[in-house]
Amino acid sequence: MYQIEKARLGELFARIAASGELILPVENNGTSQYGTWTPEVEVRLDRLNTVRSAKDCFFPQTENLMGFQMKGKEISIIDQRKPCEPFTVFGVRACDAASFGILDRVFLSEPVDTYYQSRRLAGTIVTLACGEPEETCFCSVFGIDAVKPGGDVSCWLTEDTLFWKSLTEKGDALTEKVKDLLTDGDEAALKAYQEKISAIHEKLPLKNLSLEGFNGDATEALFDRPEWAELSEACIGCGTCTFVCPTCQCYDIRDFDTGHGIQRFRCWDSCMYSDFTKMAGGNPRLTQKERFRQRFMHKLVYYPANNDGIYSCVGCGRCVAKCPISMNIVKVIKTLGVKNHE
């Protein structure tokens, strides 16, 4: 365990950035977004709850898969895969860090998604315990300990000090590079800080949300519940919840005709869209109610069914904060769950 004065964070970032891109929450016109560190950017470690999650670093919104070049009547295929340069993501909250495990189960199981894999291998994750959670946070509900955020390196930021603890080989390698900037950590001080923020997390309004009734076997019990109609009534079918979600992993593969050839790319898709999983016969989910249901059934039932009971939600609270009509997973859990009726 190490530590560094908060005032010297700039040096730390510069050192990390020297050996590869450093991505961390930065100021962007009044919002906090993951962005590349440069000496000029304004780092927002006070707003770790970025609009978009850290998912983007491994699974970007759009990504070129391959190209087809056309010359007259000839078509040639261009492999656009490039080796991914090493990079570091800094300031990842515990919930976001937990989301990578959920994505890994999808992209790294056979057949392995090599585009995702190459990024995952190249990226080192430095987490930061969240000291100022929002009322929308409910990571603890999914067993995530916000005080011990995980990742390759875990960090804690007090008023004047950053504590640094490597957890993996990747973390050790990164620590090695910055070691001369660090001093040995004050375990007692860290513990005091952890207790302090634990107490704050205890006060969160959603901490007692119960997931009882949601599991891999709940399909029959939940699928035809009449409450879906009311829950989805106001849904406008946008993709906000999906695109800010750290665990949503659905994508579409599209071709873009450049005039000289075809650029095949993938882009995030949203199960809230009417053309999601559209097939020759149309969309299997014809109404917004069905599409709305799909999203939450997937998070709380279908995913756990295929992944050892793990939910595909980390309680980051983004969808709760961002939904234009304030209809979100918390309401679904409260409405359909067993223990949430006051």
Binding site: G72, G259, H260
Partner: protein, 666 residues
Amino acid sequence: MSSLHKIGVFVCWCGSNIAATVDVAAVAEAMRAEPNVVYATDYQYMCSEGGQSRIREAIKEYGLTGVVICSCSPRMHEATFRKAAQSAGLNPYMVEIANIREHCSWIHKDRMDATAKAIVLARTALAKLNLNQPLTAGESNVVKRALVIGGGIAGIQSALDIAEAGYEVDIVEKTPTIGGRMAQLDKTFPTLDCAACILTPKMVDAAQNEKITLYTYSEMESVSGFVGNFTAKIRKKARHVNEDLCTGCGLCQEKCPSRKAKNEFNMGLNTRTAIYIPFAQAIPNVPVIDTEQCIHFKTGKCGLCQMNCSAKAIDFEQQDEIIERQYGAIVVATGFRPISLERFDEFGYSQNPDVVTSLEFERIMNAAGPTKGQLVRPSDGKHPHCIVFVQCVGSRDTSGCGKPYCSKICCMYTAKHAMLVREKYPDVEVHVFYIDVRTPGKNFDEFYRRAVEQYDVDYIKGMVGKVSSHGDKLQVQGSDLIADKQIIIDADMVVLAAAIEPDPEVRKIATMLTASIDTNNFLTEAHPKLRPVESPTAGVFLSGVCQGPKDIPETVAQASAAAAKVIGLLAKDKLKRNPCVAHSDEMLCNGCSACEKVCPYGAISYMDKEFRVPGPKRTEIRRIAVVNEAVCQGCGACTVTCPSGAMDLKGFSTKQIMAEVDAICR
């Protein structure tokens, strides 16, 4: 879909017109390499029978599903190539033209650049063709009636010819009588026969022909519809004289006490009464009351005409009448007027009554004119001894004061006037200032030479710079370029050959008919050489000076040509419609009515239709737009107004145009 196409590309040399600047073989070769192209070739003249048969043969041999022709403008030969394709069994709308002549070989000098551009244009046509759909033209009925706007010699001749073929014709004339400018003329060149003698019988024919209806003292109110089916509204202005009752005795005119109105027919050289018949041979021979001059209309008193009319034809209460009629074809014959000379102060036209325009001089020389044919000066009625004619007053003028074009008729009528003066009054000295004498016509130059050689008219190569009054003489200062001298002539009269311009009403008419008009307000012909009597607007034909300056024989020839075109059109029972019309995808239509608001033809209406929808209620009623294909003219205004893209235009679809954009920007 596009991959199923088999496309043939034909590159025309157009002799050397294209081949001199564009490497046609290279274009064909480049196109051969394009996806979907199974055949590409070049040939000297694609529009020739040889070229067309190549297209037909290739369609059959290669089973072509579409054809790209790289040639001249589609405005020139699109129809030709469509027909050729159709005769080989291909849908005519599966033909696209790349305009590599007007838009390429004729304007670019560098062979590399021109060839490269020709290839891009060919690819663009191919990109569009890949998305073409076979289209079938619908049919519409033809109303067997023609409308002629303008009752001068052009309109009369067109109407007579159309009526002769057995079709109903209406003539709309804004003045109280038909006859037009020709009725004002004295003699006609180069034969010197009397204008009235040859015109009045035609006027009478028109009046008596039972197929012809005359709407004199009437104006066009509006025109809608399209070829074969125009609807026109005609405002028959109140004459205040009942045409059916009036016997044309002329007593009213004699009794009318208001005698101060300028006589338009005599170019304002004398006055007329408030109730008047423009001239003795007017048709109809019915007077009209000029309400601005009439004492009754001004003060409510008088009424002498009414009291004296034994036929009880005077009707002060008469109102304008709007007549609505259907027509299959429209002939525009709106004629001309001399330009205003107010910007040519140097000739002293507005200051000196003895400086007159040629049309005024025409009236002075006319036996039925204000001087009963006596050549006298308007100022003092004295016989002139020296007359100076000035040609090109306001013609060929790019300074902005006049017109940039040659008015075409002035050289000849000036020679006519000079000759007539010298013949009737050998004592009168006649000088003509000219820049050029233009006499390209049968017996024209001979006529002009007679004026010089036989009648001793003094033609001076040069221009008048100034006309000023000196006592009762007009001092004419001009140049004699051959002698390189400045000369001064003391003249008694000066006659100005003023440029002519289209009647200003033609602008209004052109807008009504959506016929295009050039910068000089002459109506544009569909093709300057091959379709000189047709307007680009289908069903609208041009007759006389409204299309460009011309003399009487040319006007009559064009009038008959326009009539022949009208007869050809009216002879058809059905017309093939343009299949490039809008259509709405009912699955995308929101029923918002935006398209209806911008449609200039009222071609879009709405209906409620039941649709299957997902969800517990299985159907819902939606309001959707429906295009009347017979009325739609294919402008595409609706397609851009429609936010959902439901409205599209056949033949110019959004995807086709975007494919063209993509191909150009590739």
